[in-house]
């Protein structure tokens, strides 16, 4: 009396590669929440769920590129990050978006200074990070990826992941104090 729920991500992807839609559905249900939160953490609020949908559609489209030797989450977040980058590019709003983030941060900082915020907010703290630092935090803490996996997703050396993580955590600790 089995269902696909018992399968590992890798086994599910093997089934998706064979065209089994039920396996794909199981992957979506398993990963939709962390993926939406990944985009939220990246500072995307209104479009986070749409971007997660885009990522899953892309996952299905590129299913044959997946190799079982790689961890599934590495593959998924490579796609997710690309969706995020493409979304910014295609709307020609990377600058505007970053500006929006900066303004939001300024408002938040003002609010914090004026005492209208009761306690440090994790979302605000994440916004305070540079995009490069936020990437490693979200992939490491948010998605549980190892440094090596993060280095593959972001295409940077493991040492860089480590140092960015260190800087990011210092900043987060200050923001969350």
């Amino acid at each position: 009396m089995p269902t696909f729920d018992d399968f590992s991500d890798t086994d599910l992807m093997r089934q998706v590669q064979r065209g089994r839609l039920s396996a794909f559905e199981t992957l979506v249900r398993r990963h939709q929440r962390p993926l939406v939160n990944f985009f939220r953490g990246m500072g995307v609020y209104n479009d986070a769920e749409d971007m997660a949908q885009d990522t899953f559609v892309r996952l299905f489209k590129y299913r044959r590129r997946y190799r079982p030797t790689a961890k599934f989450s590495t593959f998924l977040y490579l796609l997710a990050r690309q969706v995020w980058i493409d979304a910014l590019r295609s709307r020609k709003r990377r600058e505007a978006f970053e500006k929006e983030l900066a303004e939001a941060k300024r408002r938040d900082d003002d609010a914090l200074r004026s005492g209208t915020e009761r306690k440090p907010d994790v979302e605000l703290a994440l916004r305070a990070l540079s995009p490069a630092m936020r990437d490693v935090v979200l992939l490491s803490i948010g998605q549980g990826l190892k440094y090596e996996e993060i280095s593959r997703v972001l295409k940077i050396p493991v040492g860089t992941v480590k140092s960015r993580m260190f800087q990011a955590m210092n900043r987060l600790r200050q923001e969350l104090r």
Binding site: D6, S22, R33, F56, V122, R173
Partner: protein, 447 residues
């Protein structure tokens, strides 16, 4: 080893990045050990690790929000049409059956590991235990299984799989299966059955949905519904659920409604969910029990289903999963098909398959099943099919299968009488499934 050169400011030790990685469990074993030696003398790193761990937990908590909607429907809408057409809810079996070599290898490794562990940890008790079981009578082992099942039946009359390594969505099906174990032993004429089955039947009848179905509307519903229907019909036939007739007819009507045009059953009535042997054996047995009660209105559905099932047998008498040539797990499928056809012979006008070929195929299956990895589900159908086919030549392999089953009985005193959840389906059904299926198999073999 202590380091005297570490600064006191948390972010100023050169090992700070390691402290963060340590807090996030991102170091290799060697790195971790090296860091721990360092941190033993570095309060800065200890503070960094501690504070990082706390901050990480806050981030994790903040990133655990649910989406505002289920994303799946929107995603499926955007997939190409061919992907939608290939959607089949019942691919799990196909995968498992097709991946039989990998699964068998994994099962073998697990069995060897388990054997090694038991041999190393408890060689004397194992030897003694196995010796005792080798002498045990199947009927005594079944009674011990029933006692264990009775001891873990819930106050509400149900058996709760999540307490025994199974999945909650199969609570109704597993309650039906446990009840069936009581009913099949000694034709249900014993004190344990008299006590356990009316309570189980009451729970099951109360759980019936308005459409006549049993169990949650998940992909496992047809298993839940089929097994519960068979159990309740067996209880009704024995007078242990006299009030059940309207519910049973409603359950049989549900089966008729879910039957595919070709005659079989899939995980649902949706056209994309192709009928398969493994799901269909339970509805067929339920319909046969209904017709056996004189409810002839279900005869047509039964005949249609049996003809569909018969059409899945190939020239060698082996059954397929979806179609004749889909015989990757032919042993279990052949046992299921043969059991169903033999068992319904009394209420169906004809067996739509060559009976001699079926018997020969079953002989091979019984022989195969006595060797290699154990599969409780298959064991039950092999033993039941051999009994239904009444072939004396199949008794020796059944005796070996019985010995194999005995070896899987729990050696742990707290689970005495039960069977270890050790086969490929145990991740779903847990100890309740393993014990019920093993006892049903032994019971069928010993009758």
């Amino acid at each position: 080893m202590r380091s005297n050169s570490c600064p006191t400011e948390p972010d100023r030790c050169e090992r700070g990045p390691d402290a963060v990685a340590y807090a996030l469990d991102a170091l290799t074993d060697a790195e971790r050990l090296a860091f721990e030696r360092h941190a033993d003398g570095c309060s800065a790193c200890l503070e960094t690790a501690q504070a990082s761990r706390a901050a990480a937990q806050r981030v994790r908590d903040a990133l655990a929000k649910e989406p505002t909607r289920d994303l799946l429907p929107g995603i499926l809408d955007r997939l190409p049409a061919w992907a939608q057409e290939s959607a089949v809810a019942d691919t799990t079996h196909a995968f498992l059956f097709r991946s039989r070599f990998a699964l068998r290898a994994a099962a073998l490794v697990l069995a060897l590991l388990a054997g090694a562990v038991l041999t190393v940890r408890r060689p004397a008790s194992r030897q003694k235990d196995h010796h005792a079981f080798a002498k045990a009578e199947p009927a005594a082992a079944v009674m011990e299984a029933l006692r264990w099942l009775a001891s873990v039946q819930g106050e509400d009359g149900a058996w709760h799989p999540e307490s025994w390594g199974g999945r909650a969505e199969f609570e109704t099906g597993l309650t039906g299966l446990a009840a069936l174990t009581f009913l099949r032993h000694g034709d249900g004429r014993h004190a344990l059955a008299a006590k356990a089955t009316p309570r189980a039947a009451a729970f099951l009848l109360a759980s019936q949905e308005s459409d006549g179905g049993f169990g949650p509307t998940s992909s496992g519903r047809m298993y839940n519904h089929g097994i519960v229907s068979v159990a309740l019909l067996e209880a009704y036939r024995r007078g242990l659920a006299p009030e059940a007739e309207p519910s049973l007819k409603s359950a049989l009507n549900y089966l008729v409604a879910q039957q595919h045009d070709g005659g079989g059953w899939g995980y649902s009535a949706h056209p994309a969910s192709r009928p398969n042997t493994s799901v269909s054996v339970w509805p067929l047995e339920a319909l046969a029990l209904g017709v056996g009660q004189g409810w002839t209105e279900y005869g047509a559905a039964l005949e249609q289903g049996l003809h569909w099932l018969g059409s899945l047998a190939n020239e060698q008498g082996q059954f397929g999963y979806w179609q004749t040539d889909d015989t990757a797990d032919h042993a279990a499928l052949t046992a299921m098909g043969a059991y169903c056809l033999f068992k319904t012979a009394g209420v169906s006008s004809a067996i739509p398959a060559d009976r001699t070929k079926l018997r020969l195929a079953l002989t091979r299956v019984a022989d195969e099943s006595a060797e290699g990895r154990l599969d409780y589900y298959r064991s039950y159908f092999v033993a039941s099919a051999v009994r239904a086919g009444a072939d004396p030549q199949n008794q020796p392999p059944l005796a070996r299968l019985r010995d194999r089953l005995f070896q899987e009985r729990s050696l742990d005193a707290t689970h005495a009488g039960s069977w270890n959840p050790s086969d490929r389906w145990s991740g779903v059904g847990g100890r309740l499934y393993a014990t019920s299926m093993a006892a049903l198999a032994l019971d069928a073999e010993s009758r």
